[in-house]
């Protein structure tokens, strides 16, 4: 089985928010909510400053706490490349998964169920990239099978320096940031 992940080059990302708009449009994300967003991190003391711009979303963790805490199995790991998904008509809206996610990647859809990034699995099934990846003007995002050594994503992780978000939480995220 494939193990889908995303590799994002922070050296190329300019924070244009195209990925955010593409996601909102592709997935009809309700107004005032976001499945992906831009974080800007500034470190150091003036004038020795560095800035990292990141397109963030659900990390589709290998060890997803949102899945283990779900009382109904609505939050689950999909057979399609291990994408973490929510089945809306099994979700009771208890919000345990929102509490369990260290990244704040989930929200309550105004219809009542837990909502989040799906890696655009409806597009992935057709062999396309997720909407955010497909529109990026700097091509800073790469989507692919992390277990396939020949994939661009796996190659980048072998050849470049990277980090994930909050490795302290032990969730083993599958969104990687190249530095």
């Amino acid at each position: 089985m494939a193990r889908f992940g995303m590799v994002i080059d922070t050296r190329k990302c300019v924070g244009c928010m195209d990925c955010v708009v593409a996601c909102q449009t592709e997935n009809d994300v309700p107004l005032g909510h976001a499945r992906d967003w831009i974080a800007t991190v500034v470190r150091g003391e003036f004038p020795s400053l560095s800035m990292e711009i990141r397109s963030e979303r659900c990390n589709h963790c290998d060890n997803p706490p949102c899945v283990t805490c779900c009382p109904t199995g609505a939050s689950h790991v999909s057979d399609l490349g291990g994408i973490v998904k929510v089945t809306a008509n099994r979700c009771i809206g208890c919000k345990a998964c929102l509490s369990a996610c260290p990244y704040g990647a989930r929200f309550v859809n105004p219809k009542g169920y837990a909502d989040k990034c799906t890696f655009c699995d409806h597009r992935v099934k057709e062999g396309k990239d997720p909407a955010c990846v497909s529109v990026c003007p700097t091509h800073c995002m790469v989507f692919g099978d992390l277990d396939d050594p020949k994939s661009t994503a796996a190659t980048l992780l072998r050849t470049r320096q990277w980090h994930t978000l909050l490795p302290e939480a032990g969730t083993r995220p599958r969104v990687f940031y190249l530095t």
């Binding site: 009382p71 009771i92 809206g93 509490s99 369990a100 929200f107 169920y113 302290e168």
Partner: protein, 349 residues
């Protein structure tokens, strides 16, 4: 300097988690009391079978009060759900890794168990029920005729009471994303706090119930009478009240010890846990933690109840009320401070 800006502003998630409002602390509080009442009621039933307490005073009131409180708690829990029409989905599956799934099934068993437990004394307390539905009397007699059946009910109450009292703490403690909750002592702490609040509520009931009058015969009057009238010739004897006070002193002492262990566990763990420790010790929740929970909710009732048992001051309902305030504050604090508590990035990312 580290400055992070984000374009995300999801409701209930940013700037910090606020997914659980008043409903969950209320459910955790009454759920804890129900658990405590089930365990104490189970003990009362065992004492009744052994002939140590022939009136079995609390064997009626513990299950009935539990039943009413559980309805309140379950109502709050339902109100908290964002996708209410799909609540049935909980009972289409069992998810072994989810304490919430365990708890849902435990609650489903607790309801009939409480009804069966109340049945032991219900025909006597609510004559209308026994007259209108003769099978209620038959079931009650069948239970009373066989001590082994009451013993089984008693042990079911005790075991499921422990499960109900501990699962809520375990539920929170499994969440690695909330360091304040992510400590294994939370389950036992909630259980002990529920027991002490249950003992306090029984104590309050033993003092506040009106004196024995003939059981009201009507449908509504009888139902109310069953809830608020003591069974037997007189109100519970002093020994029962003293036993409850003594039990509460022990439970409060264990609670202090567990809170101490919770704090030690937090401050000696990861940077995230240490930040959660600061929230309670000196952060925005410090006044609620130290002032309301520790001093008003535990230490003061501990002192007052000790003095009462030593006949230094007269018995009052003040310590029992304070214990209930402390029990609610513990749940309120944990739910609210826990949602503020986050994993701290040690790599400054």
């Amino acid at each position: 300097m580290l400055e992070i800006t984000t374009t995300r502003h999801n409701p209930l998630v940013d700037p910090h988690l606020t997914v659980w409002s008043w409903e969950i602390p209320l459910y955790l509080f009454v759920g804890g009391i129900v658990a405590g009442l089930m365990i104490l009621g189970g003990i009362a039933m065992l004492r009744m079978v052994r002939g140590e307490d022939t009136r079995g005073y609390f064997s009626l009131h513990a299950p009935l009060a539990s039943f009413m409180l559980l309805n309140l708690g379950m109502g709050a829990l339902f109100l908290d759900l964002a996708h209410k029409l799909y609540v049935w989905a909980v009972y289409l599956t069992f998810q072994p890794t989810s304490p919430m799934s365990w708890g849902s099934w435990v609650l489903l068993i607790v309801y009939p168990l409480l009804m069966a437990s109340a049945l032991i004394r219900l025909p006597e307390a609510w004559p209308w029920l026994a007259r209108t539905f003769p099978m209620v009397r038959r079931w009650s007699d069948a239970l009373l005729a066989r001590p082994d059946r009451i013993r089984l009910l008693a042990w079911l109450n005790i075991v499921l009471g422990v499960a109900l009292g501990i699962y809520t703490g375990i539920l929170l403690s499994t969440m690695v994303a909330r360091p304040l909750w992510n400590v294994s002592i939370l389950g036992p702490l909630f259980l002990v706090s529920g027991l002490s609040a249950g003992a306090a509520l029984l104590h309050l009931m033993s003092v506040l119930l009106p004196p024995k009058r003939p059981a009201p015969q009507g449908m509504i009057g009888g139902a109310v009478g069953a809830l608020v009238q003591p069974l037997g010739a007189q109100a519970p004897d002093k020994n029962t009240a003293n036993w409850l006070i003594g039990a509460d002193i022990g439970l409060l002492a264990v609670e202090v010890l567990m809170l101490g262990l919770l704090l030690i566990g937090l401050v000696t763990a990861t940077a995230s846990h240490a930040a959660a420790f600061d929230l309670l010790m000196s952060g925005r929740f410090a006044i609620a933690f130290w002032g309301v929970l520790v001093v008003l909710g535990i230490l003061l009732p501990l002192l007052l109840q000790g003095l009462e048992l030593g006949h230094r001051i007269p018995h009052t309902i003040v310590p029992a009320l304070l214990v209930l305030v402390g029990g609610y504050t513990l749940r309120w604090l944990m739910v609210n401070a826990g949602q503020v508590s986050e994993v701290v990035s040690t790599t400054a990312r």
